[in-house]
């Protein structure tokens, strides 16, 4: 089998795609596609970093396992997207994760938000999972075969994240008075950061059929959210949307602390391999 055929086999949607395979691809993404891969990779990376905190602190052992699983899936998606983005600039996933500065990150404010209590984490998970599911289920049709293949793997995993968060929204909303109060508060704290997910920044115009236009996801996202909130007997929070700016490198105050912790060891020993 020639090397080109081997690459083609590696990135068919049916195959489990590993970041190590993406690093070996012959093709390089365009600068625009690489920038777009940073958007998605950084969202997944920062979310995984947040979720990782819960492991050993969850309300029940089963939830330590579940949140660790979600964090692991997200770190897997981050590795694939960042590896692919890095192909454009001869950088590795770790160069991008550990040696970029805060304004060079492209994550949305939503994933940077603090964990808060379990209800706030679930509210953030609910929004992210429903958004990522709508996104990845369309990105599988991307004209870029690597993005399509990453999305094909991710969408199956995010489907479980969706189920996990929905089950908890229902339980917390209809469990006890306290859990309902906390669930409502968690949603309210999360909602200002929903709007940014659906903003079409100029990069989107350069992507053609390789990416998914964020504004097109708003309607199906809203419909899916509405259905669950109705079932949980909750109202969508009425709070003003935050202006965002993560895709342009303008972040929340939280990101600096997140990447300080993420990068500390790698930056203490520059050039070292681990």
């Amino acid at each position: 089998m020639s090397e080109a055929n081997a690459s083609a086999t590696r990135i068919t949607p049916g195959n489990a795609l590993r970041p190590e395979d993406i690093a070996l691809l012959d093709t390089k993404p365009s600068d625009a596609v690489a920038q777009y891969a940073l958007w998605l990779g950084d969202d997944a990376l920062i979310l995984a970093q947040r979720l990782g905190w819960w492991i050993s602190r969850a309300p029940e052992l089963e939830e330590d396992v579940a949140l660790a699983n979600i964090a692991l899936d997200q770190i897997g998606h981050a590795r694939s997207f960042l590896t692919y983005a890095g192909r454009a600039w001869d950088k590795t996933e770790d160069d991008l994760a550990y040696f970029r500065r805060e304004p060079e990150f492209r994550s949305v404010h939503l994933v940077e938000q603090p964990n808060g209590d379990f209800a706030r984490t679930i509210a953030r998970q609910f929004v992210v999972a429903l958004y990522q599911w709508e996104l990845y289920s369309r990105l599988v049709g991307s004209s870029d075969p690597t993005l399509a293949a990453i999305a094909a793997k991710a969408v199956k995993e995010v489907d479980y994240h969706r189920d996990h968060s929905i089950q908890w929204i229902l339980r917390l909303a209809q469990g006890t008075d306290e859990s309902r109060r906390r669930m409502i508060a968690g949603l309210k704290l999360t909602w200002p950061y929903v709007e940014e997910l659906f903003t079409d920044y100029p990069l989107v115009d350069e992507l053609g059929d390789a990416g998914v236009r964020p504004s097109t996801l708003r309607e199906p996202f809203d419909a899916a959210v509405r259905a669950i909130l109705v079932e949980a007997e909750l109202e969508p929070p009425e709070v003003p949307g935050s202006v965002g700016g993560g895709r342009l490198g303008r972040h929340s105050e939280h990101l600096g602390y997140i990447i300080a912790e993420l990068q500390v060891l790698a930056r203490e020993y520059p050039g070292a391999s681990w």
């Binding site: 970041p19 995984a48 050993s56 309300p59 052992l61 660790a68 469990g175 020993y269």
Partner: protein, 326 residues
């Protein structure tokens, strides 16, 4: 496990036929299953051992979870997350195995949080550098494997079966620890020094994981008669030292104890004296991290109470709804 089965077990405490069957099963090296008659002390001793083991998995998540956010590469971060997740899974299998002996998981958790139950002392040492993550995998998980492989043949069925799966995962954990140290040992001089420092600090505590010397281990003998424990503490410790001697060479690092040698006459590996006073101090709660580990577990448990209550209330409401619909 139903309450009926537990009641039947205690009612039948003086069941001669049951006792005879138990003794026969032990003599044949067969398995005791949850519904079989068993001596009260066998049940008690196993409940203590399995729940301590479960608690060790759960407390043991903390020192390693401490490095998840700082892992120096994304691959290492993913591997470490998966490892700590496995430990939560091991805790779950073990609590389930202990529950088959009649003690509910909630009770075991309460005992841990109240400071009534023990967990492995090794987790009361601090995890100070990234190399410690390697040393824990290599030495601590390595010692755990030496201890646990014979437990796969423990006479109590649910325990033995849980251990089979746990040992498979532990061997992955040990390999990842070895791999971390190997990478560091072949890295920059600072990384190499970090690796040697971690091995120096974790060597003695991991040898003490096998428990006190045979002459000071009062519970061991009964446990061996019941086919729960198969080898003595000192036998297992000696076997472990032999494995480490081989592997530390492959790492290009050194064991901190210069008195390690193979005794041709006894066929056993010997090592220099261990500080059993330190062991007792840590066991008594005066280790560097005892208070911190307990506080973190208590905090997670207490702060999660409202979530568990909500889940229970929701399940009850759903059950009622289904009953009314039927």
């Amino acid at each position: 496990m139903t309450t009926t089965a537990i009641d039947a077990g205690s009612r039948a405490n003086h069941d001669d036929a049951g006792e005879q069957q138990f003794n026969e099963l032990i003599a044949q090296d067969s398995r005791i299953e949850p519904r079989d008659w068993m001596p009260a002390d066998y049940r008690k001793s196993l409940t203590r051992q399995i729940s301590q083991h479960a608690h060790s998995e759960i407390i043991g998540m903390q020192p390693e979870a401490n490095w998840i956010t700082r892992a120096p590469s994304l691959k290492r971060k993913a591997v470490l997350m998966a490892k700590v997740q496995d430990e939560a899974g091991h805790g779950l299998y073990l609590y389930s195995a202990a529950e088959t002996l009649g003690t509910p998981r909630d009770k075991m958790t309460e005992d841990l949080i109240a400071g009534k139950a023990r967990y492995s002392s090794i987790f009361n040492y601090p995890v100070l550098t990234w190399a410690d993550i390697g040393a824990i995998g290599w030495l601590v998980d390595g010692a755990a494997i030496c201890n646990q492989v014979p437990l796969c043949r423990a006479s109590y069925g649910p325990y033995g079966r849980a251990m089979v799966r746990i040992c498979k995962e532990e061997s992955f954990h040990q390999r990842q620890g070895f791999e971390i140290l190997l990478e560091l040992a072949n890295g920059t001089p600072e990384q190499r020094a970090m690796a040697q420092d971690a091995v120096n600090r974790w060597y003695a505590p991991s040898l003490m994981m096998f428990g006190p010397p045979d002459e000071d281990s009062p519970n061991s003998q009964q446990s061996m008669l019941w086919n729960i424990k198969r080898f003595s503490n000192d036998e297992l410790r000696s076997r472990f030292v032999g494995m480490m001697v081989e592997q530390v060479r492959a790492l290009g690092l050194e064991l901190p104890n210069k008195e390690v040698r193979f005794n041709e006459e006894t066929g056993r590996w010997e090592h220099g004296p261990l500080d059993w006073n330190e062991f007792k101090e840590v066991l008594a709660g005066r280790g560097p991290c005892n208070a911190q580990r307990m506080e973190r577990r208590r905090e997670a448990h207490e702060e999660g109470a409202w979530v568990r209550e909500a889940a229970a209330a929701y399940a009850e409401k759903q059950a009622l709804k289904h009953a009314q619909a039927a």
